[in-house]
Subunit: 221 residues, 2 copies
C-alpha cells in the first residue's frame, strides 16, 4: 500500500513516515506545500533508515502530487490548515482513504484545552469538506511526534480509530498494527471523534504538571 503523508516533513507526519518505513513494507510518500522541502525530508528519512541498515525508498512531492499517489492520505498538518488542504487535493482523491490526526487546541493560564471547530472535531470537519465518496478515518491524534520519530524508543501505545466506513477503518487499523507497539482500537463512528481528540490537550497538560510524563501517550487497559 502507498501511504502519502501530507505535512510529512515534520511532527506527527514525520514520525509516522519513519515508523511505517522502518516497521513495514508499505511505500511512504512525503507531501509538502514546497516540493523541494518534501524531497529533502524524504532523503533525510532515507538516511536515518540507512543508518539502521534499513534500505527504503522514501519519495517527496508537492502535496497534490503526493495525494494523487496515495492509497491512504494522512492529513498531518495543523488543524487550521486541514480544510484548505483537503480542498486543494480533493480532485485527486479517487479510491483514497483520508486519515485525520489533527486536533484543535487553545491555551489559557491553566493549560491546553480542547477547542474543536463548530462541526464537533477536526475529523468531522475533514468529513464535511472531503468529496462524498472519499472515506475519512480519524486516527493518530494522541501520539507524540517526538516519540514516533525517535526510532531508538520502543513504543507501547494505543491509538483510537473513528470512522463511518467500516472497510476503510479496517484498512487503517491494519496499517496501524504494522507499526511495532502501536495498537489500533475501534472508537466507533466519526461522531465519537471529539472524545478521542480531546485526550491530546490532556496529554500535554500531564507532561507539564508531572515528572517524567513528557511526550506521554495513552494505553487503555
Amino acid at each position: 500500500m502507498r501511504i502519502s503523508l501530507l505535512g510529512g516533513t515534520g511532527d506527527i507526519g514525520g514520525g509516522l513516515a519513519l515508523r511505517w518505513a522502518y516497521d513495514t513494507h508499505h511505500e511512504v510518500v512525503i507531501g509538502s506545500r514546497d516540493p523541494e522541502r518534501a524531497r529533502t525530508k524524504a532523503e533525510e528519512y532515507e538516511t536515518e533508515l540507512a543508518s539502521r541498515d534499513v534500505d527504503r525508498k522514501v519519495t517527496g512531492f508537492a502535496n497534490e502530487m503526493a495525494a494523487d499517489r496515495g492509497d491512504v492520505v494522512v492529513l498531518a498538518v495543523p488543524p487550521y490548515h486541514v480544510a484548505d488542504l483537503v480542498e486543494t487535493v480533493a480532485d485527486v482523491l479517487e479510491d483514497t482513504i483520508l486519515v485525520s490526526p489533527a486536533v484543535g487546541m487553545s491555551r489559557d493560564e491553566a493549560g491546553l484545552h480542547y477547542n474543536p471547530p463548530d462541526v464537533g472535531s477536526v475529523t468531522q470537519l475533514v468529513e464535511a469538506v472531503a468529496p462524498d465518496d472519499v472515506p475519512v478515518v480519524g486516527a493518530y491524534h494522541n501520539l507524540s511526534a517526538d516519540r514516533l520519530a525517535n526510532l531508538d524508543l520502543e513504543i507501547d501505545l494505543d491509538t483510537v480509530l473513528v470512522g463511518d466506513d467500516l472497510d476503510a477503518k479496517e484498512q487503517i487499523s491494519q496499517l496501524t498494527a504494522g507499526i511495532d507497539g502501536l495498537r489500533p482500537l475501534d472508537g466507533g463512528g466519526l461522531a465519537n471523534a471529539p472524545e478521542v481528540e480531546g485526550i491530546t490537550p490532556l496529554l500535554v497538560n500531564l507532561g507539564a504538571f508531572n515528572d517524567d510524563l513528557h511526550d506521554v501517550g495513552v494505553k487503555f487497559q
Copy 2:
C-alpha cells in the same frame, strides 16, 4: 483520615469505599439519602472485607451526617444530582475537601458523548456551588466501578486529579496512592477538568466496539 462517600452505596462510591477499606487504614463512611440503605451497604462491605480476613469498620449514615464526619467528602452520585447534593451538605463542610468524580454524558446512535454542564465540567459545577472556603478536587472520573468493587482484580491504572487548591490536591493525591495499583497524576487546575472528564464516554465506547475492553481504564505512559 476519614473519607465519606456520598452515594457510597453503589457504583464508583462503592468501589472506592471497598478499595480504601481494603488497602488503607483510612476510616470509610458511606452516605446515602436513605440512612438505612447506607447502613446496610456498610455492613455488606464489612462482610466482603471479612471474607478476605480484613476486619474493618465501615459505617453508614444519611448524606448530611456522613458529610459532617468526613475530612474528605466524595460526591459519588450521578452528575444531575451533584449540585443539589452539595447544597444539601454545604453547612457541614468546614475543613473538608470535596472530591468530584461525576461526568455528564449523553448517548446517540454513535455512542456515548461528553455532555458537560454550561460551566464546562461537573467538577467546575461543584466548585461553583460549594462554599468559597471548601477546596474542590476532581478525581476518579475514568475508573470502572465494577473493577474497583471486585477485590479479586488487581488494578494498574491512572487517575488524573485537577484542582486549584494545591494542598487539597496533594492530600487527595496521597489518598489515591494508598489504593494499590492506582497512580494519581496531576492534571493542573479545575479549568482542565473537561479534558479529564471527557475520557469517560470514550472508555465506554471502547468497551462497546472492541473485544476484551469492557470496564477498561486508562494508563498514561
